[in-house]
């Protein structure tokens, strides 16, 4: 159940261009969160909270890892915080990836840019079940790449950059054939990428994590809806998602 919790910052590191990895401590969140859930982060001086995915959890140390890119005022402010300081979050928020029944299957993880982080904790949890994992991680250019090594420990990992400055050149969709066969996929990244992937993989079962600008982050304000059909049906990304089965939503 979502709660308002204080996160104590243990470590802050810049791991790629404008990309911050932050390790924060909180017993409740670290014991209850599942892959694909997010934290709704309060940033001092700003009206609205910022949704940030959970990238990893170390439940022995009660720590949670988040990764965020500095794109605007809120993330810039968050990046100025240092160990010993704290911030409050609502969390764990939303519904994450369903990972039951994946034993003995092969799973494809497809992450784009700052959509990569939630797939890491998912991958770790799948790896615990001895699922075979293939990862395709797309970035704009070399300086944006992160977590290659971590994903490599989970299984075969392809890095692709749009300009070919690192790994393969092109888009994540260009690599899918090369990656070999798999049973189902999980993906998180920018909307055009998700559209391309779900179109290409329309015969495979998949789950995708979506983004939308949020008001409340708890399901009360209707800011973050996504249509489910042409007839006015909808889901709320903050509370029904952010992770959906591909068939559930219409992108």
């Amino acid at each position: 159940m979502m709660r308002k919790e204080i996160m104590l910052i243990n470590a802050v590191e810049r791991i790629a261009l404008d990309t911050i990895e932050m390790v924060v401590e909180n017993p409740y969140i670290s014991q209850t969160a599942t892959p694909g859930q997010f934290l709704h982060v309060s940033v001092e001086g700003y009206t609205l909270r910022r949704p940030i995915s959970i990238a990893d959890i170390n439940s022995e140390n009660n720590t949670i890892t988040i990764l965020f890119k500095i794109v605007g005022a809120g993330t810039a402010k968050l990046a100025t915080l240092s160990p010993g300081m704290s911030f409050d979050v609502l969390g764990p928020s939303g519904n994450g990836f369903q990972i039951e029944g994946n034993q003995k299957s092969t799973i494809l993880l497809i992450g784009g840019g700052i959509g990569v982080p939630p797939l890491y904790y998912l991958g770790k949890k799948l790896a615990e079940k001895n699922t075979e994992i293939i990862s395709i991680l797309g970035f704009q250019t070399e300086v944006n790449v992160f977590y290659e090594e971590k994903f490599s420990k989970l299984g075969k990992t392809y890095i692709v950059t749009n300009d070919g400055t690192y790994g393969e050149e092109g888009f994540v969709t260009d690599i899918i054939e090369k990656a070999g066969d798999f049973d189902s996929y999980y993906s998180c990244g920018p909307l055009p990428m998700l559209k391309a992937i779900t179109a290409k993989l329309k015969d495979k079962p998949g789950m995708i994590s979506l983004e939308e600008r949020m008001g409340c982050g708890v399901g009360a304000c209707m800011a973050c809806v996504i249509p489910t059909d042409e007839k006015g049906g909808y889901k709320k990304i903050c509370s029904d998602g952010p992770v959906f089965h591909v068939q559930e939503v219409s992108l």
Binding site: T47, R213, C216, G219, A220, C221, M222
Partner: protein
Amino acid sequence: MTNLAVNLPGLKLKNPIMPASGCFAFGREYSKFYDLSKLGAVIMKAATGTERFGNPTPRVAETASGMLNAIGLQNPGVEKIIEKEVPFLANYNTQIIANIAGSTLEEYEKVAAAFNQTDHVHALELNISCPNVKEGGIQFGTDPRMAAKVTEVVKKASQLPVYVKLSPNVTNIVEMAKAVETAGADGLSMINTLTGMQIHLPSKKPLIANKTGGLSGPAIKPIAIRMIYEVKQHVSIPIIGMGGVSSAEDVLEFLLAGASAVAVGTANFNNPYACPEIIDALPDTLKRYGFDSVEDAIGKGIVQV
């Protein structure tokens, strides 16, 4: 003991604090954070005649000390609200206010009549900020004659007390208030959001898909206070105040300006406990400034000329 109770037409409030319409849906989400019986009342999300999907996304943007929203009255329609949401809220020891909206007089009438049939709803809040599709989009809320007309229609359709929610996007708020008072309003609710816009630099177009959105939050508080202060001197019906409230001090400022109760909107988003925390802080805040009760403070900031 500081007395927080306020009695208004149709509403026996144990305290003057209620979540504002559209910022609390029908209470289910926030009921996971605290017991809704703590609240003086709950104002439900706008109800329209039939289900509405609302506007395309993005629907919200952040602004300095505020936010823009253009949800577009997304709601399941008055029937489903009566069937599913009112009974849920009726489980709590609080008062229920139904916010009603429509694109035509007939739609307002239908929604008001529907709520009149049900128990547990204690008052209507009449949202007149919606564009009137029949009359080519002119807002009910910016023309005093239209506002009076819709008030009359709703009063006729329902026995429930009607609080007309005024739009601040007008030249003369006192004129609007007097028009709806004359038309039979039992109270006023003010203010709704100010129409604003944000342009998204990377895409070079309005960030909100609907282009304009309603500005809410602390940024608009001085406008709300001014309007309530002005209106209070010209009407004799009570005012539910709102606009940027996020602390017990803010509540006292609204009371002093002339509000009899106070709704909290945007503040719930950053702090889901905003309402109960304000309620807990209110007795001390009132006492610190020399008041024994909420009713004591109402309108006490108005300087007679």
